[in-house]
Symmetry: C2
Subunit: 369 residues, 2 copies
């Protein structure tokens, strides 16, 4: 069983054969092939260059077949064999990976996925809405007041800022208890099933404890940054809590070493992300429309039968961007606006309500991408 890794390699034409061969060796046996005696290792374990195609001047797409056996069964080792040492080369980026169906089934992908998030929001066909509790540095009570005001505006999901962890000024347990209560109370007034999603972080023990606290508050969705906690820890807790929806945050996802559609779309989904937050084009970050469309495709497209993962464009979105956003992503998306609503200050609840209404209006059609 083979995995095909697709690398983008910058190289002069006369060196590309040697570079491609080196990549195949580096990501498999990591020693000179002529020093290997074992026939099985040479035939089944050593990486093989499948093809080298030009992709513009001095740039090549290299397909390398790697033995699935070496990838084992957990995400860390999977990434290690896909890109571990080669990530240290500045002329190589990891573009994509083609995986056997059995491996995709093993990792399992989203458990709640797009459909599970729709169920939570009571949103049959429309796009969903999300906002963020900020800034960093507020005590739990202040964050809870903010959460209540957002919830009164009827937004579907209220997430912790990804910088909220277990700091002294806002310990996880106190924050989650306060915010969950505030949102429950507001929700009972609006009649809308607004979900508060705490950001979980720390080592596996801490992640498990935080999930326990979230459960005790009746919460069924959380935010997690897979590259901050580690892909392995992320996958472990996602498997252990199939009834909790995991919304992945891209922090520490790097800009260019691993193609964003692969990392934020395909791999986060593979390891269990039910939704994936990413920087939309035209906001604070430099992703292009093509990159964003490719992330959305990788997240929600058909892939060996695993559930679709909901795209969540974000990163400096404002009410003025909504028509574009909804035209671009269609209804199978969640629109995340944090600072764009917080800037409304005393009008926060009414701006939130307007955001929710506008998305409901716009986000019911077919997606354009």
């Amino acid at each position: 069983m083979r995995i095909t890794a697709i690398y983008r390699v910058a190289s002069a034409a006369e060196d590309i054969d040697a570079k491609a061969h080196s990549l195949a060796v580096e990501q498999s046996v990591e020693m000179p092939l002529d020093a290997i005696d074992d026939e099985r290792v040479l035939a089944e374990i050593a990486g093989r260059v499948e093809s080298i195609e030009p992709d513009g001047p001095g740039v090549w797409h290299v397909r390398v077949a790697l033995a699935a056996e070496t990838f084992g069964t957990e995400p860390g080792q999977f990434m290690n064999m896909l890109f571990g040492n080669s990530s240290l080369h500045d002329f190589v980026t990891l573009e994509d990976a083609e995986l056997p169906a059995a491996m995709v089934a093993h990792f399992g992908g989203p458990r709640s996925g797009m459909a599970g998030l729709r169920r939570r929001a009571g949103a049959k066909a429309r796009a969903m809405t999300c906002t963020a509790l900020k800034p960093q540095g507020l005590p739990p009570e202040a964050l809870a007041r903010l959460a209540a005001r957002f919830a009164m505006g009827g937004v579907d999901f209220i997430k912790d800022d990804h910088g909220l962890a277990d700091q002294d000024y806002s310990p996880f347990a106190a924050r989650v208890t306060a915010c969950a209560a505030a949102v429950r109370q507001a929700s009972s007034k609006t009649g809308r099933p607004t979900r508060y999603m705490p950001n979980i972080s720390g080592n596996l023990d801490q992640l498990r404890a935080q999930l326990g606290i979230a459960r005790d508050e009746g919460l069924d969705a959380v935010v997690i940054a897979p590259m901050v906690v580690g892909l392995t820890a992320f996958h472990t807790v996602a498997r252990e809590h199939p009834d909790i929806a995991f919304v992945a945050h891209p922090a520490m996802g790097g800009a260019a070493r691993i193609a964003p559609p692969l990392l934020l779309g395909r791999l986060f989904r593979l390891f269990g992300a039910d939704a994936t937050i990413f920087p939309n084009h035209g906001g604070r970050f430099g992703y292009s429309p093509d990159t964003c469309a490719a992330i959305a495709d990788a997240a929600r497209g058909t892939w060996h039968g695993i559930a679709p993962c909901l795209p969540v464009p974000a990163g400096g979105m404002t009410p003025a961007r909504l028509p574009d956003l909804l035209a671009f992503y269609g209804a199978d998306a969640m629109i995340l606006m944090g600072g764009g609503l917080l800037s409304a200050r005393e009008r926060l609840t009414s701006e939130t309500a307007a955001f929710v209404e506008r998305v409901a209006e716009l986000g019911t059609g077919e997606r354009s991408i």
Copy 2:
């Protein structure tokens, strides 16, 4: 208490002030400052640009003061606040970080460090030697035979290839038991305290279980790839096992998004690496001599009183490179040669012995860098 993050930013001169300000906001409160009411948050939590210095045409060094409070107490959140969202910008790299002594003391750094590895090797002043078990794909018995032959050559440390995990063809427990026994037996013949270092991987539960197996075999040093298992998991097990030496492997360390001296030297050391493996200049990887010297300096230089971490240059080293290597790094280093010895095939033990002897001869002087 503030942390100073130093970013390298590509920007036109007319945009650099705005970009620097955005970085300070992104890595702290992540929302428009004029939408923040709380005075404490504005004064103590929001990031502040300390200086902007040109560093060549269109490139700038930007120093940003960030609140230590937001960094919390574990490595994931530490990295999140240092570089989380900004890692998604392709015009920003993280160059360095200046930390308060109390934070360095909290994370604790190496427990064994350079001195502890010297004690294990019985190497008072000379440089140390290390080799690697490869290739991927061999069963435990074949790896154990290889380990025995290396140990008969008298090398100080024999590490698992970083690709050896817990694969079906070489399960961790079977491999470690077989290799540890082989090295013990060889060691009793040579009279040298050769150490076998298994590569540990997986989630925190698996790492703990693997450390238990290593302990049961009497081993006191392991290899771990912090960016594969996650920095948080790495730090957790390093703290839990102060009597085990942790040799950090750079896999998944990326090439350029975080400056290698910071990541592989300073941060791996901060979180508990007793030694750090990195690609030496002139081998399979493209690091420059300056980068390598800076990694070694960051690993073993004086830093808020924590123990020095041993530099381990590697990545395609051959016997012919030894004079250069030892002149460059001096005696406070460990030289790692894997493929360069495995290529000797039937002469593996004698080539290993020659490697050991040559390093002892060359690696006793003052370091040149």
